[in-house]
């Protein structure tokens, strides 16, 4: 199976790639999770959230604070990140899902801004503009195995690979479950779902919360990677990244956002070696994709070359 081949390649990459590219690999894993969490809400449930940085950043900060003040165990840090981002997602989602489409989008933008400002201004907790630096990360002690130093880049690559891989697997199970099919139904025709007797709002809220949970995990993983966190993780432009990645890769397929995240980061890196003005190119790519390739790269490959992704197809 080609999937195993891809996984095998990913596993041996750190053995011969220079450090810079291993770091990019880690970044791709983290962003792939972020984009996937976003697409759970957008591609599957049909809700466009332009404020996802709120969950990503909250996860990042919660992880940082946990590692700094409670324990430097990475597991607890990630757990802290997940818990807080889920709670925030639950609260924000509660308000947002009561509104339709355009209003939903606006509200997510506003909440994103709200969370950013809280993070930015609550200097005593978050360190304000400077953020939090020097976060302690103790080596991983898992059962009886020898301590695993996470500061070493290739080690962290494997750690992230496992975390993200497990998350992807969980999300795959969620979207292919009964719950997942209800979400897809809601996307297509929420009126009809109501007539069948299912609670649309509750499903949307649950989807929102799960999406926020994994976004928070992504943020927490990034914090451990960088050893610091700053309000930049909460800013509006960060909210746009999973959206760009999902659109680029394709929102109609499960693996679309993952492919999109990889493409986005690689393209951005390539552009940045040539010019500092990468946004104009990204914007142009987005415009082109929205008009000509609405299914994204994966969608295009599927329809053009009939490469079978049918099992991962959303609708």
């Amino acid at each position: 199976m080609s999937l195993i081949g891809v996984l095998a390649i990913l596993l041996i990459l750190p053995l011969f790639l220079p450090e810079y590219y291993i770091a990019i690999g880690i970044e791709i894993f983290v962003m792939a999770l972020f984009a996937l969490s976003f697409n759970l809400l957008f591609g599957y449930t049909g809700l466009l959230s332009f404020g996802h940085a709120a969950f990503f950043g909250t996860g990042a900060y919660a992880c940082a604070l946990t590692l700094k003040h409670i324990s430097s165990s990475v597991f607890l840090g990630l757990l802290g990140g997940i818990i807080l981002s889920s709670i925030v997602a639950l609260i924000i989602g509660f308000f947002c899902v009561r509104f339709t489409r355009m209003y939903f989008v606006m509200l997510t933008v506003a909440f994103g801004e709200l969370v950013y400002n809280i993070g930015h201004k609550w200097v005593s907790l978050t360190g304000g503009d400077d953020g939090l630096v020097g976060i302690p990360i103790s080596p991983l002690r898992f059962l009886f195995l020898p301590p695993f130093n996470l500061v070493k880049l290739s080690n962290y690559y494997y750690f992230t690979f496992v975390c993200v891989g497990v998350s992807i697997f969980i999300i795959w199970r969620i979207v292919n479950s009964h719950f997942g099919y209800v979400l897809r139904a809601i996307h297509e025709n929420s009126e009809r779902v109501k007539f069948v007797g299912l609670e649309v709002r509750r499903h949307q809220l649950l989807s929102f919360t799960i999406s926020g949970l994994f976004a928070g995990l992504a943020g927490a993983l990034l914090t451990v990677f960088e050893g610091m966190v700053s309000p930049a993780s909460l800013y509006f432009t960060v909210s746009a990244e999973p959206i760009l990645m999902s659109i680029l890769g394709g929102t109609r397929f499960f693996f679309g956002p993952i492919v999109g995240a990889a493409l986005f980061i690689i393209i951005k890196d390539a552009i940045q070696t040539l010019t500092e003005f990468w946004m104009v190119w990204m914007g142009a790519i987005l415009v082109m994709i929205v008009i000509f390739l609405p299914g994204g790269v994966v969608g295009f490959l599927h329809s053009r070359f009939l490469i079978s992704f049918s099992k991962s197809r959303i609708r």
Binding site: Y103, F236, I247
Partner: protein, 272 residues
């Protein structure tokens, strides 16, 4: 009042085309930068004040005609994403053309200095902006309530297909409204220039606050936008006295409260 100029354009575009123009802040910024450039060629501010918004409107018209139109049959979200793409493009283009430094635009000599009103000094330029707001609002009201064109636009916003069936040229109207809304944003930029200097971040800075104003005022209503921007302005001004560090959060909290209690905003119409 700056907020009002932007919010009115946004609310107009939303009211008729049902899209949230994410690129609005970038068009506002474009207005400011074009004002700067025009002022360098013709040192008269008023020439720039006249022409910069027209150029902005023209650019917006191009965007609408070439890129937005093909997407009307698709889901609204894609139109939004397209406009966000243009936000990225415009923001970077401005940086490429003008550099990242602030560009200072001199105030017109007629508006420099301050006047005494009731014993207090008021900068003339700020008064200009404050008075401009209600004048624009009145102009908008007249346009939409009293003229034929206004009625056609309102018809098209209620029911696009019925208006089309009645012979109203809806696509043309959409382009016209988009251009007009962006023209208002361009005026905002032209006016903001001498006050705040043109900078690459100014679009992003103001656009989200404008969203909040539009929501508070009600999507699709200018009086709402006017009242909303006054409300937000006052809240910010007084908030600084009470909670200086967290003042910027207050408008968003007000917005959330509005969403809970009166989702239509102050004067909005239509379902949420």
């Amino acid at each position: 009042m700056l907020l009002f100029l932007l919010a009115s354009g946004l609310t107009l575009i939303f009211g008729v085309l049902r899209i949230i123009n994410f690129a609005h802040g970038s068009l506002y910024m474009l207005g400011a930068y074009l004002t700067y450039t025009i002022c360098r060629i013709f040192p008269n501010y008023w020439v720039a004040f006249l022409f910069a918004p027209i150029l902005v409107a023209f650019s917006a018209g191009l965007i609408e005609f070439l890129f937005l139109r093909p997407l009307y049959k698709r889901e609204h979200e894609y139109q939004l994403l397209l406009l966000y793409g243009f936000l990225l493009i415009l923001d970077d283009l401005v940086k490429m053309a003008y550099g990242a430094a602030f560009k200072i635009i001199p105030q017109p000599p007629s508006l420099q200095g301050s006047i005494q009103i009731m014993g207090r000094e008021f900068p003339k330029y700020s008064l200009f902006i404050i008075i401009l707001g209600p004048i624009v609002a009145l102009g908008l009201w007249y346009l939409f309530d009293q003229t034929q064109m206004g009625k056609k636009i309102r018809a098209a916003s209620f029911d696009r297909e019925a208006a089309n069936a009645l012979g109203i040229n809806v696509p043309f109207l959409y382009t016209a409204v988009f251009m007009f809304g962006s023209w208002l944003g361009g005026i905002g930029g032209a006016v903001a220039g001498p006050l705040r200097a043109a900078s690459p971040g100014m679009g992003l800075e103001i656009i989200i606050m404008s969203f909040a104003v539009v929501i508070i005022g009600g999507l699709g209503s200018f009086w709402g936008a006017l009242l909303g921007s006054i409300l937000v302005g006052e809240v910010l001004a007084f908030g600084i006295l009470i909670l200086p560090k967290f003042v910027i959060i207050i408008p968003y909290i007000v917005m959330v409260l509005f969403f809970l209690l009166k989702p239509q905003g102050l004067f909005g119409k239509g379902r949420v």
